[in-house]
Amino acid sequence: MAFDDLYQEIILDHAKNPRNKENLDFISEDEVHENPTCGDSIKLAVDFFDDGKLERVRFDGDGCAISTSSASMMTEIVEGKSKEEVLKMIKSFILIMRNEIESSLEDWGDLIALEGVIKYPLRVKCATLPWHALKDALM
């Protein structure tokens, strides 16, 4: 049933053992991204290589399984990519989640597990919260 499509094994795994999740207390509370509908919050720390590519993205915050797993998978996939590439990915990811473009997450590694979210419009904001935060961190 659709509910199991929403909470696939990969999502539960990333939610239980989030990658690149660390205590980021050194970042001010003003830089926290909040989902106004639920109060979930996230903050990001982005490290760059000398050539401007993303070395590592770390996150901290309080979120549901969907937003936590989305953040965890996002930090993995953007590693080593250029800023421009990542901004493009963010744009596509948000449009795919909102079901506004005919495209799939087939080539996005673990992130394909988030396709189940598209059927739950109220949860799309959970999945996209970390991506909005990363966009702001890069702009």
């Binding site: 049933m1 509910f3 499509d5 539960l12 239980k16 509908t37 639920c38 979930d40 969907i66 739950y120």
Partner: protein, 423 residues
């Protein structure tokens, strides 16, 4: 054997449920082939409507629709009578001294905004508005806006970890600078019933008027504004089994009389010249433009409906359900319940140690159980308790013991589904 509950109108819970069309429907869950029964436990967000309310609105538009207060024809008279009869019903429902102390608005939020804009227009930097940390955003943000406009200060009665007001603090917070006290009657998160009588008496000893936010109390208990002696009382129709888009601001005549209009337009004026106008009598001075007459018809029917059930019966039954829910869940060491034990009115909020409230609500939804998850429009109170969100089940007289058992069973099942620990 659990005894069958009969309400003042002689009806059982089963018979009452049959009067709510939405409770007869099956829910089509996405990806699920067999529709499920709706278990509606989100009444504190908005109540379902009995057919009497739906039909009153329908009848108005089929048989009585016309504009109020101006047409001289028969329908105009009838529409005006429908509208003004509802005002009378509201006045007796909260035992107001005069029906012209009842101002119709869109909802509790608009009632409070009206008060903040109108009464608040005379506030200045030396004035203070005393609120509480328990307030819904609707009794907080209008005062923040007022504070930005006029420079008045906001102060707050604190809450403790049980979700109760620290009433001793009121003696330090209430001063000759206090211009208004605004307090929520029943907390929408904790179900706490605040001792508003105590707060009103304290405020009156400083000649300070008091606003009560009755959005959550009016569905659960009888209100007598004269006995409470509150100066303003705001509530919504839709939480009271009436239609959406109707709200009420009760105000004592002595205040409403002096307050300037909130919005300008038709119906609120006595005489209009290009350079200025004079205002209509109470309560129409505060009701600019064509009002929601169909909504008023539905609200009147809702008040009749609730009055027939009887508040003594409603509170007893809802308290029984709430205590039953508590007894089924309090033993579980993964679940934390919020609010004062044994004194929660109609709502119980909880968190599960291993499951985020969103995931919990989504899991429950997959069985047709409707609950609320999030910050419940009361972020300051949540921050104080150091929780970013909770799951809230809220109760009504149309809920049953078996629904509560189903809820408890599925809350526990959620723990297993998420493999004993997502977070």
């Amino acid at each position: 054997m659990v005894r069958e509950w009969i309400f003042a109108n002689g009806k059982s819970v089963g018979e009452i449920r049959e009067e709510f069309p939405i409770l007869q429907n099956k829910l089509n869950l996405s990806g699920n082939n067999s529709p499920v029964d709706l278990v509606y436990l989100d009444t504190a967000a908005t109540a379902q409507k009995p057919f009497q309310v739906i039909e009153a609105g329908d009848r108005y538009y089929r048989e009585q629709n016309s504009n109020v207060h101006r047409a001289l024809h028969t329908l105009g008279e009838e529409a005006t009578a429908v509208y003004e009869n509802s005002r009378q019903k509201v006045a007796s429902f909260i035992n107001a001294e005069n029906s012209h102390e009842i101002v119709f608005t869109r909802n509790t939020t608009e009632s409070i905004n009206l008060l903040a804009s109108s009464l608040g227009s005379i506030f200045g930097p030396g004035d203070e508005v005393l609120l509480t940390e328990m307030e819904h955003h609707s009794n907080l943000v209008p005062w923040q806006l007022l504070s930005q406009r006029t420079g008045c200060k906001l102060k707050f009665i604190p809450i403790n970890s049980d979700g109760e007001l620290e009433l001793d603090e009121i003696d330090n917070l209430l001063t000759e600078k206090t211009a208004l006290v605004g307090v929520v009657h029943i907390s929408n998160i904790f179900g706490t019933i605040n001792n508003i009588k105590h707060i009103i008496d304290k405020a009156h000893s400083f000649d300070v008027p008091v606003l009560i936010d009755g959005a959550q109390s009016t569905p659960h208990m009888a209100i007598d504004v004269q006995e409470l002696d509150c100066d303003f009382f705001a509530f919504s129709s839709h939480k009271l089994y009436g239609p959406m888009g109707m709200g009420v601001l009760y105000g004592k005549e002595k205040y409403l009389d002096k307050m300037p209009p909130y919005m300008g337009g038709g119906d609120m004026i006595r005489s209009v010249k290009l350079t200025g106008s004079t205002w209509n009598d109470l309560p129409w001075k505060f009701e600019a433009g064509t009002p929601n007459v169909g909504g008023a018809a539905g609200l009147g029917a809702a008040l009749d409906y609730i009055s027939k059930l009887g508040f003594e019966y409603i509170s007893d039954y809802e308290n029984m359900l709430s205590e039953y829910a508590g007894s089924l869940l309090s033993e579980n060491n993964k679940i934390k319940l919020y609010g004062p034990v044994g004194h929660r009115a109609g709502v119980f909020s909880f968190t599960h140690k291993d499951i985020h409230p969103h995931d919990m609500a989504q899991f429950l939804d997959s069985f047709g159980i409707a609950v609320r998850a999030g910050h419940h429009c009361a972020q300051p109170a949540m921050r104080k308790l150091k929780v970013s969100s909770m799951t809230r089940a809220s109760l009504s007289f149309y809920n049953t013991r078996s629904e509560i058992e189903f809820l408890a069973e599925k809350i526990i099942a959620a723990g297993e589904y998420f493999n004993n620990g997502i977070r």
